[in-house]
Symmetry: C2
């Protein structure tokens, strides 16, 4: 039987930081250097976090993380993939996330998507996520996808990957 692998969206499939830097610049004219954000929580990294994340189109127009389409396609053949995204805090994001997945990952069915508040109720064998708050409640193998907010976190429970090539190398 195929192992079940839970794959996060924001920060793993969708390039959350690039989208935030672009929207922050459009909304407030502030140009933020990505290199200054290491170790900062996302909600502190962007001055207009709360309004930008709720703005129409934010999730629908997010750019892809490099290699995510090919990487997820590979995983989808080998594992039982579930896309698990924290989304119910932002009701407008729900349809945008599904439409975005349908556009860029047409091989992922609606049956493979879980939009939730907390991820601790979702069962699986492997989780790929950029947030320790999700990984820490997971009982299987924990793969942390490097993003500026998590870059200084050291935890022997996690396997750290910096890109999709590293994911397909180990899985």
């Amino acid at each position: 039987m195929k192992k079940q692998i839970l794959v996060d969206m924001d920060g793993v499939l969708a390039d959350f930081y690039t989208q935030f830097l672009k929207k922050e610049s459009e909304q407030s004219g502030t140009l933020i250097e990505l290199s200054t954000l290491s170790g900062k929580p996302e909600s502190e990294a962007f001055p207009n976090f709360n309004s930008i994340i709720r703005s129409e189109g934010f999730f629908r127009t997010a750019p892809l993380i490099e290699g995510s389409v090919e990487g997820l396609n590979y995983l989808n053949d080998k594992y039982k993939v579930l896309i698990v995204s924290s989304a119910t805090e932002f009701p407008n994001s729900l349809k945008e996330k599904l439409d975005w997945l349908a556009e860029f990952f047409p091989f992922i069915s609606w049956k493979q998507v879980v939009l939730c508040g907390n991820k601790d109720c979702v069962r699986g064998d492997i989780m790929i996520d950029d947030h320790p708050k999700n990984l820490d409640f997971f009982e299987g193998d924990k793969i942390i996808f490097s993003q500026p907010h998590n870059i200084f976190i050291k935890n022997d429970d996690y396997i750290r990957v910096n890109n999709w090539n590293q994911i397909t190398d180990i899985l």
Copy 2:
């Protein structure tokens, strides 16, 4: 530690049949008698199932099942409640479902909501659902909420309840 209880929306909190009978009558003029639907799958019970379920407002304006607000409030004090709804097949339903919950069940937080394709990945101790396809993949106690489509199903694995009073009596 509180037990985790998974509560379905359509057919347990929302009166799916009453809403369908109303919409079928509005859309096609067909008056269907509820008593003629026993044992029929929902998709066969209503001639315009596919268009009605996708129509704007269908989930947002669904009536409540009697006793569901008081009953869920009771469960929410005693258990860790998660609302788990099959929803990703119908992208327009997602926000409607959250808005509907926020209106009628304001004591339920967005953190307690799971909108998914299949429910077999969601962990819990007790599940209340009207669909065997969901209950059969659940590892905990299975409570089937009577609805016309499931009324003839006999399965010793299920505890059958006909209304919310029976739920609060046994839980």
